[in-house]
């Protein structure tokens, strides 16, 4: 019995050492390498991210990278910039308590970061309690997030809201049908995961698509994330409907099985679109990925058309010896720069002056677009108002819309499965 307990104790200690070794540092002041080293007490930005998720991990990496560059260039108001990272674990209550800690224990100047709408919703009371300048890159669910910040001059929201994204897609599809007359995208089938994300997205399609004169039908499926992963029933209903375009709303875990099962039942509509928040690491390597369209705010191929995107990419790869995989990386980088630039422009930490400077932001972001802040339907300071339409072509995510930053023309129609 004693032997077993000692073995157990050894395992627990070893595991703890291993886990603490793997755990990221809670705070980091990136080292300054420039000639005009910033001095004095650091100015702190407090970031809540979900570190166990690849989006949070990459966002925090990018934030630290941005801070390192800013410090190398002299810091913020001549003082070092420090990013204090707090892991919200994807849970609302942890996100809320993290903000409290950032405000009270870490005494941060401003809140940045974010991803999940659910976590953001739980953080609303804390944000309003402290009323610090908040520049967030997360949360798209407007029904629950937008209204509480209607009067908050200190709240800056970078990520497009859900209705802005959908409106952007409509604009994009219409412009593509105009520019490429062979494209017909007027009959749609939406496969949607049966949780809140998919169901609320489906409701949006049911409202907006008929307004464009487009037919739309849909079927739900259980996402692999929730123990499902068999999409054939929804895909067969889509096949029977014979749409011009099929779009699925789900998660990264659904991506490759979805195309595999579509191939299995020989369903190949003229346009095949996936709309998960992120994509699995190996999706582009599969021959089935060819010509799958998707939505996103960034793609590595932007390096060929945007110097800001190329600079970010090169710096990220040099720093972390790995490539960023999702758009929260450039968003995290943008997040830090936008706020730091505004403080430097204001020349002071006075909140009113920094808010004025933030409102005047015009930042050439690594997403390939210039970030400015304008009122949205409800809040005063909304940043990006649409996503891009991308397409996998030869294993690379290309930008097919907006046309001013496109990196490729769309491949249309979606090639049949036997041609791969």
């Amino acid at each position: 019995m004693r032997k077993v307990l000692s073995i157990l104790l050894t395992l627990v200690i070893a595991t703890s050492i291993f886990i603490s070794g793997c755990a990221p540092a809670a705070t980091t002041t990136p080292a300054s390498t420039g000639s005009k080293a910033p001095t004095g007490e650091p100015i702190k930005f407090g970031a809540t991210v979900t570190l166990a998720d690849i989006t949070g991990k990459e966002a925090s990496n990018a934030m630290l990278l941005a801070a390192k560059e800013i410090n190398a260039a002299g810091g913020v108001l001549g003082r070092p910039l420090q990013i204090v990272i707090a892991d919200d674990q994807g849970k609302g209550e942890v996100g809320a308590s993290s903000l409290d800690k950032l405000a009270t224990v870490d005494n941060v100047y401003a809140f940045i970061g974010g991803m999940s709408s659910g976590v953001h919703m739980a953080q609303i009371p804390i944000m309003k309690k402290y009323a610090k300048i908040t520049v967030t890159i997360g949360a798209a669910a407007s029904p629950v997030i937008e209204a509480p910040f209607a009067d908050a001059d200190w709240y800056f929201h970078i990520h497009p809201w859900d209705y802005e994204q959908t409106s952007g897609y409509i604009t994009g599809f219409k412009e593509m049908m105009t520019k490429f007359p062979q494209m017909t995208l007027k009959k749609w089938f939406i496969g949607y995961e049966e949780g809140a994300f998919g169901s609320s997205g489906w409701k949006g399609f049911q409202t907006l698509w008929p307004q464009q004169g487009w037919d739309v039908n849909g079927a739900s499926f259980k996402s692999a994330l929730m123990g499902g992963g068999d999409y054939r029933a929804a895909l067969r209903q889509a096949k029977d409907y014979n749409p011009d375009a099929y779009m699925w709303l789900g998660y990264a875990a659904d991506a490759l099985p979805m195309v595999e099962q579509a191939k299995e039942i020989n369903f190949a509509p003229d346009m095949f679109i996936g709309a998960p928040p992120g994509w699995p690491a190996d999706f582009g390597k599969s021959p089935l990925a060819e010509s799958v369209s998707l939505f996103g705010m960034w793609a590595p191929s932007l390096n060929s058309v945007s110097p800001a995107a190329k600079h970010f990419w090169d710096a990220y790869v040099a720093e972390y010896k790995t490539e960023p995989t999702g758009y929260f990386a450039p968003l995290g980088y943008t997040n830090v720069y936008v706020l730091a630039n505004a403080i430097n422009k204001a020349g002071t930490l006075d909140q009113a002056a920094v808010i004025t400077a933030l409102k005047a932001t015009s930042y050439d972001s690594p997403t390939g677009q210039t970030l400015t802040f304008k009122p949205s339907d409800k809040i005063k300071n909304q940043g990006f108002t649409s996503q891009k339409i991308l397409q996998w072509q030869k294993g690379v995510q290309t930008v097919i819309w907006p046309f001013d930053i496109k990196t490729a023309d769309p491949e249309y129609p979606f090639p049949t499965w036997d041609k791969r």
Partner: protein
């Protein structure tokens, strides 16, 4: 007539009803029957090892699905690092996870065998959380998926096209069931395991090494479920929580079938798999599949309890 006499028995009434339903489905929408059988087989092959542990060792292993998840990750990384086809990866997986099962039994399960059932449940629940968090820390929550051409293979009969890869799960369920059935009925170790499952004290009295039997059965169960994880990884994405929903499904199937009733696990898997397939094929009704699943579980348990009381 012999057939009429047979049909007076409940067992054959159920078989006849199943055949009639199968024929009707084939005529109406054959994909429901085919995909239902494939789905049922996946549920069955995942549940059978849990039934083995529960029937012999008497432990509900709440980390059951997580060992499947570990097997899936093993297959993924063997494929990526060495190019090994997952079908071949089953061989090293079964050996490695038999050893892992042995270690897990010695370190964690054996010390709590005499404890109250709640302690046993809490331990395996804790093990489940540790495995999930460990994998999350090492690989993040990002899903991984092997791209294997033959996984999306299909057959076309007239205008009807259906997938053929998932018949692997049908074959796996048959192999595991027949293998376990033969093992438990025909081998000395299997018969010892059956005796231990029925009465550990009595088994010990007649000279059966109960601890060794528990060890081998637990290790065998872990080896089987991890190997099933290898097959799972070919069709489904792999991420830290990939196995957890199947732990609960397996537990529900065993609750319906009764402890130690392997054939019952097959039948109830078929009932649930085909029911899900029928529900999801009805436009607008897919969201009801879980409700039907749990309603069938409750109904099955209530009927079995009633029949036991009547006896």
């Amino acid at each position: 007539m012999p057939i009429v006499r047979l049909l007076k028995q409940t067992k054959y009434q159920v078989i006849a009803a199943a055949i009639i339903i199968a024929i009707l489905l084939l005529l109406w929408k054959p994909e429901i029957l085919i995909e239902g059988i494939q789905r049922s087989s996946l549920y069955a092959v995942i549940a059978l090892p849990m039934a083995l542990i529960l029937g012999v060792v008497g432990i509900i292993n709440l980390a059951h699905g997580d060992f499947m998840m570990l097997g899936a990750y093993t297959a993924y990384f063997l494929a990526v690092k060495t190019g090994m086809d997952p079908m071949l990866a089953m061989i090293p997986a079964i050996i490695a996870f038999f050893a892992i099962g042995t270690l897990a039994y010695l370190a964690l399960i054996r010390p709590i065998l005499g404890s109250p059932e709640l302690n046993q449940l809490l331990l395996t629940f804790g093990l489940s959380l540790v495995l999930e968090e460990l994998v999350n820390l090492m690989f993040t929550s990002q899903p991984y998926k092997l791209s294997i051409g033959y996984v999306s293979s299909s057959l076309t009969v007239g205008n009807f096209t259906f997938g053929t890869f998932e018949f692997v799960y049908v074959l796996a369920a048959a192999v595991v069931f027949i293998g376990l059935h033969y093992f438990l009925k025909k081998t000395r170790l299997g018969q010892s395991a059956t005796a231990v499952g029925q009465n550990p004290r009595g088994a010990k009295l007649v000279g059966i090494d109960v601890n060794r039997t528990y060890l081998i059965m637990f290790s065998l169960s872990i080896a089987i479920i991890a190997t099933i994880g290898v097959l799972f990884s070919m069709r489904y994405s792999v991420f830290p929580l990939a196995g957890a929903p199947y732990t609960m499904k397996s537990f529900c199937l065993i609750a319906m079938a009764g402890i130690g009733n392997l054939i019952g696990v097959l039948w109830y898997s078929a009932l649930l798999g085909v029911s899900e397939s029928i529900i999801t094929a009805i436009p607008g009704a897919a969201g009801w599949a879980d409700l039907v699943f749990f309603a069938l579980i409750v109904a099955a348990i209530l009927i079995r309890s009633y029949r036991q009381r009547v006896k």
